[in-house]
C-alpha cells in the first residue's frame, strides 16, 4: 500500500508539472486548440573525430548531443552536410573531400529547423597539416672551444684551441647553410671565449695563452685592438673566464679575469671601452663570499649580473653590478638568490628574466618565478624570447650515449616538444646557441661514455614552427608524440567496445594505441589515424569487465618508441551503487571548493600535459573543465576566501602569492613573499615559498 501511495504521489507531481508548463505556454495545456510548446533545441557536445589531415578523402563524423530529430542536419560552416539520424543523441554526417582540401578549421553545429527550433552551438573541426619529418641534425667534424652567431652576416664563428689537431689557434667562419668553413684566420695562442658586439661590427676573443682579449672586425676577422689583461692580486697572468660585449655600445666589453684552473675561476671584473679600462673594477678576493664566474649584461649598459657556479659549498647567488663611466661596482643588497649550476646561463633583455637551466629568476624582484621541468641528467639550455621557446639539450642516460632536445614554452614553462637526437649528437655538451630562422648549434667535447665531440647543427620546425627551416639537410629526427586528453575518459564496467578520441601532438599514421603496455608487452588496440593531433582508438569490451584504471599509451612500431606520457581510461564501478565515481586525468596538487559558483578549483602540476601549472575550474556534476588560467609553476596550496570572493594560491616553485578573483579566475594580485628579517642577508637566501595558506 505504501508503494502504491508513493507511485500516486509521483504521478500527481508529474501531472502538476505538465499543467504548469502548459500554463506557461499561454494555452490551456490540454490539447484543446492551443499552440503546443516548441520542442527543446538541439545541443552539440562533441564531434568524433574533431579533426582531419588536409587532403584527406571524405570523412564520416559522429555528432553527439541532445534533442536531435529525424530532420536534424549537421551544419558545416552554415551549410548542411549529408546527415543520417541515429538517435536523439547521435547523428552521423559525411564531410566531403572538398571541405578537407586545405588546412584551417570549420564551425560545426546541428540544425533542427524543420522541427521548428534553431541551431545548436558551434564546435570547431580542425583541418591539420600532415606531419612531416621536419627537424634535421648535422654533425660537423670540428670541436670548437666556443661558438657565436653573427646574425647580421649570417655566419657562425668558432674558436679552435691550441690543442685542436687540425685547426689549432684559429677562428673559423662557418656557413651554417652549407655546413662549410669559409674562412680560417690565426688567433694568437689558445683562443677561447667569444662575444659579438651589438651591431656585429666586432668579435671579442679571449686568447688564453696570451692573457689578452683580442678584438677582430667583422665580417672579415681583421685583427683589431688588443687588451692585455692585468696581472692578478698575487702577480699571476689572468685569462678571460667570462667575456660579454655590452648590450648597446659596440665598443664596450665586460671581462671576468681569473684562472680556469681555479675553483671558482673569477678574480677580477673589468669594463673596457675599446682597449681603455674604466677605472673602477671589482676585486673578488676582497668581496668574499661573493664569487663571480659568469657575467651577463642587463637590459642596458648600466647593469651587469654575475653569479658563481663552480663551488657548491659557497653561498652562490646572483649579484648585480652597477656600470657607470667610472667603472663597475657591486650593488649592495643581493647575492643570495639561487642560480643554476651550469656555465652558460642567460639574461634575456626581452623578458627581463635570468635563465639558468631549470630555474628562472627575476633579478629585480630577487625572486624565482618559474622552473622548466627538465628531467635529464646533463643539459645546456638557451632561451629565444622572439619565438617564445626555451631549448635544452638533455642526456637521457647518466654516463651513457644519447641526446634529446627538450623544447619548452618560454613563458608558460610547459614542455612543447621532445626530439630524439640519439645516434647523431654525441659527446659531452658544451655551449648551445640559436642561429638563423630555425637553427640551434651545439658544441660537445669527447667523453668517455658519451662518445666523440663535435659541432652539431639542428634545424627545423621543432626550433621554430612558424618559418621554413634554414636548410632541410642532415638526418631527420624523431619528435615524440605527446598525449593531451581522452574523450571520453571513462566507461561503466561491462560496457561494449568504446571509441575514444585521443588528442595530442605529433601523432603519425604509424601511431597505435596500447593498453597497459611496455616494451615487453604490447597490447595494441584498433587505432585510426585522424591527424597529427588526433587518433581514434577502440577500447575493447574485454578490457572493460572489471572496474579500475586502464592505462592508455601510444606506441610507434616503426620507430619502436612510446609517446612521452600515457593517460588513464577509467572503468567505473557498476551503477547500482548510490556512490558515483568520476575520474579525470588531472595532475592535481590541491583543490578548493567554490559553493557559490558550484565549481571545484584544482591547482595542477607542471607535468599535466593539457593544463600545466594552471588553476582549472571543474564542473563536479559533469566532471568537465569549465575554464582554466595559467599561473606560476606548481600551484600547490589553494585557499578560498570568505564568500568565495578570492582564491589564494601558493607555489612550490615561485616565491610568490597570487590572489585570483572568482569565479572568473581573473588575476587580481601577485606579490613576492619576503621576510623583512632576511632582506639583504648574504648568508641565507631571501627566497620564501608559501608553506601553507
Amino acid at each position: 500500500m505504501g508503494n502504491l501511495d508513493k507511485s500516486s504521489r509521483i504521478v500527481a507531481l508529474t501531472l502538476f508539472s505538465l499543467l504548469v508548463l502548459g500554463g506557461c505556454g499561454g494555452g490551456n495545456g490540454n490539447g484543446g486548440g492551443g499552440t503546443p510548446p516548441p520542442p527543446p533545441g538541439p545541443t552539440l557536445s562533441s564531434i568524433v573525430p574533431s579533426s582531419a589531415v588536409a587532403g584527406a578523402s571524405g570523412l564520416t563524423v559522429q555528432a553527439n548531443g541532445t534533442n536531435f530529430a529525424t530532420s536534424s542536419t549537421v551544419q558545416w560552416n552554415g551549410s548542411s552536410l549529408q546527415t543520417m539520424f541515429v538517435s536523439s543523441t547521435q547523428l552521423t554526417a559525411l564531410i566531403p573531400a572538398n571541405d578537407l582540401a586545405a588546412t584551417g578549421s570549420a564551425q560545426v553545429s546541428i540544425s533542427n529547423h524543420l522541427a521548428g527550433v534553431g541551431n545548436s552551438g558551434n564546435l570547431t573541426f580542425t583541418i591539420a597539416a600532415p606531419l612531416v619529418e621536419s627537424t634535421w641534425v648535422r654533425a660537423l667534424n670540428y670541436i670548437p672551444k666556443d661558438i657565436a652567431w653573427d646574425a647580421i652576416h649570417g655566419k657562425l664563428l668558432a674558436s679552435m684551441g691550441s690543442g685542436d689537431p687540425t685547426n689549432p689557434n684559429t677562428l673559423l667562419v662557418i656557413d651554417p647553410i652549407s655546413g662549410k668553413v669559409e674562412t680560417t684566420v690565426p688567433a694568437g695562442n689558445n683562443p677561447n671565449l667569444l662575444s659579438i658586439s651589438s651591431d656585429s661590427s666586432y668579435l671579442w676573443v679571449g686568447q688564453d695563452g696570451d692573457s689578452t682579449v683580442q678584438r677582430y672586425t667583422l665580417p672579415n676577422l681583421q685583427k683589431d685592438i688588443t687588451i692585455p689583461l692585468p696581472l692578478d692580486q698575487i702577480g699571476k697572468a689572468q685569462q678571460a673566464v667570462s667575456l660579454e660585449a655590452a648590450r648597446s655600445n659596440p665598443h664596450t666589453v665586460a671581462v671576468d679575469a681569473g684562472h680556469w684552473g681555479d675553483s671558482p675561476p673569477g678574480w677580477n671584473i673589468f669594463v673596457y671601452d675599446d682597449s681603455v679600462q674604466r677605472q673602477a673594477a671589482i676585486s673578488l678576493l676582497g668581496a668574499a663570499p661573493l664569487k663571480i664566474d659568469w657575467l651577463q649584461w642587463g637590459k642596458d649598459d648600466s647593469t651587469i649580473y654575475g653569479t658563481q657556479y663552480t663551488t657548491i659549498d659557497s653561498p652562490g647567488g646572483v649579484v648585480s653590478m652597477n656600470v657607470s663611466s667610472s667603472g663597475v661596482s657591486l650593488l649592495p643588497g643581493d647575492g643570495g638568490f639561487p642560480a643554476g649550476t651550469v656555465m652558460y646561463s642567460y639574461f634575456s633583455p626581452a623578458t627581463g628574466l635570468m635563465y639558468s637551466s631549470t630555474l628562472v629568476a627575476d633579478p629585480l624582484q630577487l625572486a624565482n618565478v618559474g622552473e622548466y621541468n627538465l628531467l635529464g641528467d646533463v643539459w645546456q639550455c638557451v632561451p629565444d624570447a622572439a619565438i617564445g621557446r626555451y631549448y635544452c639539450l638533455v642526456e637521457p642516460q647518466l654516463y651513457g650515449p644519447g641526446a634529446e632536445l627538450w623544447i619548452f614554452d618560454l613563458a608558460k614553462f610547459n614542455l612543447l616538444e621532445r626530439v630524439d637526437l640519439s645516434g647523431v649528437v654525441t659527446g659531452s655538451f658544451g655551449r648551445l646557441i640559436r642561429w638563423g630562422r630555425a637553427g640551434l648549434a651545439l658544441i660537445s667535447v669527447n667523453g668517455v661514455y658519451t662518445g666523440s665531440g663535435g659541432l652539431f647543427l639542428i634545424d627545423g620546425a621543432a626550433i621554430n614552427p612558424n618559418v621554413s627551416p634554414d636548410t632541410p639537410a642532415g638526418t631527420a629526427t624523431t619528435v615524440y608524440p605527446l598525449m593531451l586528453g581522452l574523450e571520453p575518459e571513462s566507461a561503466q564496467v561491462g560496457s561494449s567496445d568504446v571509441t575514444v578520441s585521443v588528442t595530442g601532438q605529433n601523432f603519425t599514421p604509424d601511431s597505435v594505441g596500447c593498453w597497459s603496455c611496455n616494451y615487453l608487452q604490447l597490447r595494441t588496440i584498433p587505432t585510426t589515424y585522424v591527424s597529427p593531433t588526433q587518433l581514434q582508438v577502440t577500447v575493447p569490451a574485454a578490457t572493460l569487465q572489471s572496474a579500475g584504471p586502464l592505462l592508455i599509451s601510444i606506441y610507434d612500431p616503426v620507430r619502436n618508441s612510446f609517446a612521452t606520457n600515457s593517460l588513464t581510461f577509467t572503468v567505473l564501478p557498476g551503477s547500482n551503487s548510490s556512490t558515483k565515481l568520476a575520474a579525470m586525468n588531472l595532475d592535481g596538487l590541491a583543490t578548493a571548493s567554490d559553493k557559490t559558483a558550484s565549481v571545484l578549483y584544482v591547482g595542477t602540476g607542471g607535468l599535466d600535459r593539457a593544463y600545466p601549472s594552471h588553476i582549472v575550474s571543474v564542473d563536479p556534476t559533469t566532471a568537465t573543465v569549465k575554464t582554466s588560467v595559467q599561473v606560476s609553476p606548481f600551484p600547490y596550496i589553494l585557499s578560498i576566501s570568505a564568500q568565495d570572493q578570492f582564491l589564494y594560491v601558493g607555489f612550490e616553485e615561485a616565491s610568490l602569492e597570487t590572489q585570483l578573483a572568482l569565479p572568473e579566475l581573473s588575476p587580481a594580485l601577485t606579490w613576492p613573499l619576503s621576510n623583512p628579517a632576511f632582506q639583504n642577508d648574504l648568508s641565507f637566501g631571501d627566497q620564501f615559498y608559501a608553506g601553507d595558506l
Binding site: 621532445r418 579500475g548 606520457n565 592535481g588 584544482v602 607542471g606 563536479p620 600547490y636
Partner: protein, 236 residues
C-alpha cells in the same frame, strides 16, 4: 609566519626555524584573531603553536609538544565550529590548544559543519597494500560514526580530499610510477553520493569503528613531495 591583507604584509611576523619554530601547517580558529600552527615533519618531535593575529600582524602565544597531531599529518579549519581537526583524528580548540574530541579513524580528514560531518579517507586492515579505500563519516557534534563507503581501484596514492559541492568529495592521487607506460602523474576522483554526503542520519557500511580500524595505511606524499617528485624523475 606572516599575514597579508591583499599584497600588504602586516609588520609583525613569527620567525620560523631561526626563531626556533617549525610551523608547517596552519588553521584558523573561529575568528580572524586565532590561528593554530603545527609541525608536520615525518621525523622529530611534533609541536603545536597557538598564535594571535591583530592589525599589526601575528604573534606567538605558546608552543609545546603536540598531543593533537601526528608526524606528517595535516590540520584543518572549520569556521563553523571554530575547531581544528587533525588527520590523526583529534579535534582541538585553537584558542586553548586543548583536545576537545576524538574520532575513531585517521587518514585524510575533512570537517564540514554545513553537513555536521567529519569525513575521513583511510584504509582498513584488509585494504592495506591495495588501491581500495574507506571513507568514514562522523557526526561533527557527537564524534560518533555515521556511515562508511568504499572506493576501489584508484590509480595512485591519495594525498588530498576536499569538498566539490553539496554531495561530492574530490580526491587527488599521486602516481609515483608515472611515465610512458604507467599512466599520468595523478588523477582527480570525484565521489558523489547524495545520502552519504548529507546531513541526514543514514547508516551504511560499518555500524561501528574501533580506533585504528580505518587509518592511513599507505605512504601519503605531502604536497611538497608531490610537486618535487615530479621534477626528479625522468619521463622515459
Amino acid at each position: 609566519m606572516t599575514v597579508y591583507d591583499d599584497q600588504i604584509q602586516r609588520p609583525n611576523i613569527v620567525a620560523g626555524l631561526t626563531g626556533g619554530n617549525d610551523i608547517d601547517v596552519l588553521a584558523w580558529g573561529k575568528t580572524d584573531s586565532i590561528l593554530m600552527g603545527s609541525q608536520n615533519d615525518l621525523l622529530g618531535l611534533q609541536t603545536d603553536y597557538l598564535l594571535s593575529v591583530d592589525s599589526s600582524g601575528v604573534s606567538l602565544l605558546s608552543s609545546g609538544p603536540s598531543n593533537f597531531n601526528a608526524a606528517g599529518a595535516g590540520i584543518h579549519s572549520d569556521f563553523g565550529t571554530g575547531l581544528v581537526y587533525s588527520d590523526d583524528g583529534n579535534v582541538a580548540d585553537p584558542s586553548t590548544g586543548k583536545v576537545v574530541g576524538t574520532i575513531n579513524a585517521s587518514g585524510i580528514v575533512l570537517p564540514d559543519s554545513s553537513l555536521n560531518r567529519i569525513f575521513v579517507l583511510g584504509q582498513s586492515q584488509a585494504q592495506a597494500n591495495t588501491n581500495d579505500y574507506t571513507i568514514a563519516s562522523f557526526d561533527e557534534t557527537t564524534y560518533g560514526l555515521v556511515s562508511t563507503i568504499t572506493v576501489q581501484n584508484l590509480l595512485g596514492s591519495p594525498f588530498s580530499m576536499g569538498l566539490c559541492g553539496d554531495h561530492c568529495l574530490a580526491v587527488l592521487t599521486f602516481n609515483g610510477n608515472w611515465g610512458p607506460y604507467y599512466g599520468p602523474v595523478g588523477m582527480l576522483y570525484l565521489i558523489s553520493d547524495t545520502t552519504f554526503l548529507s546531513g541526514t542520519p543514514y547508516l551504511r557500511g560499518k555500524t561501528s569503528l574501533t580506533k585504528g580500524e580505518v587509518a592511513m595505511r599507505w605512504k601519503r606524499p605531502s604536497r611538497t613531495e608531490v610537486a618535487r617528485r615530479q621534477r626528479f624523475r625522468r619521463e622515459n
